[in-house]
Symmetry: C2
Subunit: 147 residues, 2 copies
């Protein structure tokens, strides 16, 4: 079954991507996971609480919780009072966090460009389509067992 082989490709690609991401942002004192959280915070149109970010990223709430706590400790994000919920603070970038995001962008672009050269954008689109279909079915079968 060709699909089973694709699964192995996904496993390895995932591992290599995380490792490469770690290397890429290591000079900034970041890791792949924290980079992703920071990016999600930066992309959001408005500050969000932790649980909201987790749903955005498709991760468990507590995984993001720990990463955010660590980013707070590192001074890259800060928690502001949420007028709509006393316990659920809003995650915001600090000045230092904004600088980090900017630095990441400068590193990220040539890296992605290098990986993309020679890759047919149409094929990339097809790959993304296959993965998304897969994700939908897996999310169904996994059901609401997340968090």
């Amino acid at each position: 079954m060709a699909l089973s082989a694709l699964f192995l490709d996904i496993f390895r690609a995932n591992a290599l991507l995380v490792a490469a991401g770690d290397q890429l942002v290591a000079p900034l004192g970041l890791t792949s996971a924290r980079w992703q959280v920071l990016g999600t915070v930066a992309m959001a149109p408005a500050p969000q609480p932790v649980a909201h970010i987790a749903r955005d990223m498709g991760l468990a709430r507590q995984s993001v919780q720990r990463l955010v706590n660590e980013l707070v400790e590192a001074g890259l994000v800060e928690l502001r009072e949420n007028p709509h919920h006393r316990r659920s603070k809003l995650v915001c970038l600090t000045d230092q966090g904004r600088q980090a995001v900017a630095s990441i962008h400068k590193l990220q672009r040539p890296w992605v460009d290098g990986l993309a050269t020679g890759l047919d954008s149409e094929k990339i689109a097809i790959a993304a389509e296959v993965l998304q279909t897969l994700r939908q079915r897996l999310a169904q079968s996994t059901d609401e067992s997340s968090d």
Copy 2:
């Protein structure tokens, strides 16, 4: 950049696949990772030492080492003397291990078939091709930093 979006798809597909795999083999007292190791051992034409299995799977030697140790403890594999290397034992399936592999196969087929229905096999091939290209480039840039 479409490729960046594909990365996120890979991350999520990977997480969902591992979660689904865990659920699939949980009735057998296995996990996704142990299942993969067991499968690699079962597929090998001849018994291999741990380090060889790790290279087969594209994982770090020590990751596989721990999983194999746990599988030994669970009675699914056993370590036999290696005539070519005194310390490096050969990993072999036990009878219980062979039964587990057979049970897994019965579970796996309908699961994969269900995921595959309606997915164009040509698109699957393209997705695999894209991921493999990606993997090659990532492996290059990551260089020999593994293990």
